[in-house]
Symmetry: C2
């Protein structure tokens, strides 16, 4: 049976809406009282696993899910061995360098050599500063990255920005954008090549749906 | 000013109680409506940062906090450059190998060569299986690790067990314990050696308090 891996959190509502539009109903996951982590669509044609954002590509890469929906930001950071098939357009955000508004830094190159940059996107941050040939110390922080500059631990952060409210509330400003991100449909490369459980049909339906919505 | 890094979650209540017993009041962090991530004790002698469990040792290692309270499990996994000073005794749990109850495996060595083991404790899991000379594929999963065996992605998991309820609810059983864990008081090595802001006094008070409680 075709299995989807869906990310908990911000993308879930739109992902379920998208799958509903191609005839698959996993809306039980949106019920706050619902505790199961895997369900079968009422028509019995497909299954979905509800997993953490960072785990979607693991389930897809290891073949436990044929298809998955996850943010491009996660794919850039993890570089999993999965096929990236469709840009689903929702869940827009950007990965940016931010500093204290009161600091003198207005671009990445203004940062001091061997300064500190806090981020949970350690690979993306390292690539960015390597590409500028600016040696900085990347400090891995997995929650409340904005505490880095506030406590004085780091000169800058590299973090996801959607509305910018968290930055503003903490007196931080964006000085550079590494890349923009939206949600992506990914597939296990082997399942996709072998067209296991008619993956290709589902991918085509999702692609049509996304294109149709984009035209509205 | 002496700064503590405290972990959000299960350890917080006991950590705050312990610090209250040596005269430092950070109980505002327990108020669900409270949103600040750093506060100063009402007496003005110390500060506390409220951070994610996995970030405590980062703040301490980089010197932004002089002292921190974090689980031994995290220290074993991250191996940060911090001084481990006092076993605080609370927050007890163990890191264990678990499998499906219906599986034939009853010890780590029963697992098939090149089988899969899902864990967020990838370093601890790798060390354990390396020490047995059993080559397994460690699958990094950061949420709901129990889905590994349930979906058939992995033969086993390595995960923290406190009461064992999560395992039971998911039809899993523990077959081996890697180590037991409790919360630990850690310090920045340099601050500790230089006795910055009278760290040693605080450490002594905490040690006395823990010993006194243990005698009751």
């Amino acid at each position: 049976m075709l299995t989807f891996a869906l990310a908990k959190g911000g993308l879930l509502k739109d992902s379920i809406k998208l799958l509903q539009s191609i005839g698959l109903d996993f809306s039980a996951f949106l019920d706050p009282g619902f505790r199961q982590l895997q369900i079968t669509d009422p028509t019995g044609t497909a299954k979905a696993l509800l997993v953490r954002n960072g785990d979607v590509s693991v389930y897809v890469q290891y073949g436990q899910a044929h298809l998955g929906i996850v943010g491009y930001d996660v794919l850039r950071e993890q570089r999993p061995n999965v096929a990236q098939l469709v840009d689903l357009k929702y869940g827009g955000c950007r990965l940016s360098v931010a500093v204290k508004e009161s600091s003198p830094y207005r671009s990445s190159l203004d940062l001091p050599m061997h300064g500190r940059v806090a981020s949970k996107f350690v690979n993306c941050a390292r690539d960015h500063f390597d590409s500028l040939d600016l040696p900085v110390d990347i400090v891995p922080l997995y929650g409340s990255v904005e505490l880095g500059p506030i406590t004085g631990m780091s000169e800058a952060i590299v973090d996801l920005v959607a509305t910018g409210n968290t930055l503003r509330e903490n007196g931080l400003i964006e000085i550079e954008t590494l890349f923009y991100s939206t949600s992506r449909l990914i597939a296990n490369p082997l399942s996709y090549r072998l067209n296991t459980d008619q993956i290709a049909d589902y991918v085509a339906k999702i692609r049509d749906q996304v294109n149709a919505t984009a035209l509205v």
